[in-house]
Symmetry: C2
Subunit: 136 residues, 2 copies
């Protein structure tokens, strides 16, 4: 993925810190501020938390990235993708996208409520295959 272009398309100047943030975020899929800071410090030992927060906010503002609020966890951030749902394993904390038909749900909600729906935030919680077996 071309992160320079991605930043320019969203009217943000290209800086090494921002390229690093995007690259780590894409690699991780979803990442918390804390984890992102720990990882990016390995590349830019001088980066400050304030810079990280400012950049996350700038990217949120331009919808380059999206904040996902997860029950009982710190918020996570992902580079914006088409509507999808998330799965959280309460055993091992695995957190992943799942490709299911979100549209059907949104359409139904829209019809019933007469809302014009633009965005969805869906997290399904439970236990992954591995953790189900271990908990027996």
């Amino acid at each position: 993925m071309n992160y320079e272009l991605l930043l320019r398309e969203h009217h943000l100047k290209v800086t090494p810190q921002r390229l690093g943030i995007l690259s780590l975020m894409v690699d991780a899929g979803h990442i918390s501020v804390e984890d992102l800071f720990a990882q990016i410090k390995q590349e830019f030992s001088s980066i400050s938390l304030a810079t990280l927060y400012k950049n996350i906010n700038a990217m949120l503002h331009n919808a380059l990235i999206k904040e996902i609020k997860v029950p009982h966890m710190k918020p996570k951030y992902e580079v914006t993708k088409p509507p999808h749902a998330h799965l959280l394993c309460q055993g091992c904390n695995e957190f992943m996208d799942i490709d299911i038909n979100v549209n059907a749900l949104v359409d139904e909600a829209s019809k019933k409520s007469h809302y014009q729906l633009l965005d969805s935030s869906i997290v399904l919680c439970g236990y992954c295959e591995k953790c189900q077996k271990q908990s027996v």
Copy 2:
């Protein structure tokens, strides 16, 4: 609703503060810590924020109530109900339950992922009928 019984069933002692919290939470449907504190102070002028937080955490721990994390807003709390979805209007901040078929979505996700799914957190965002008209 019998709040005393509800507390006892969840192994929590009955105190006037807790009865007040539950009553306000049920009346509001969903409420933030801030709003809850403002409202409960009218009844118990001496209640402290620390007590409110401790009680919310105790009730969360026993699954008497549930935390709902809403994009761009402070978390809200509701007394536990059967699985459902939420609607948020980005114009007027109306926040409400919507009765749609969450099961279909959960089943699909479960089949695809082999997760055992126990809980869902669903917020759909957009504009209510009124706000759609006003924004023209």
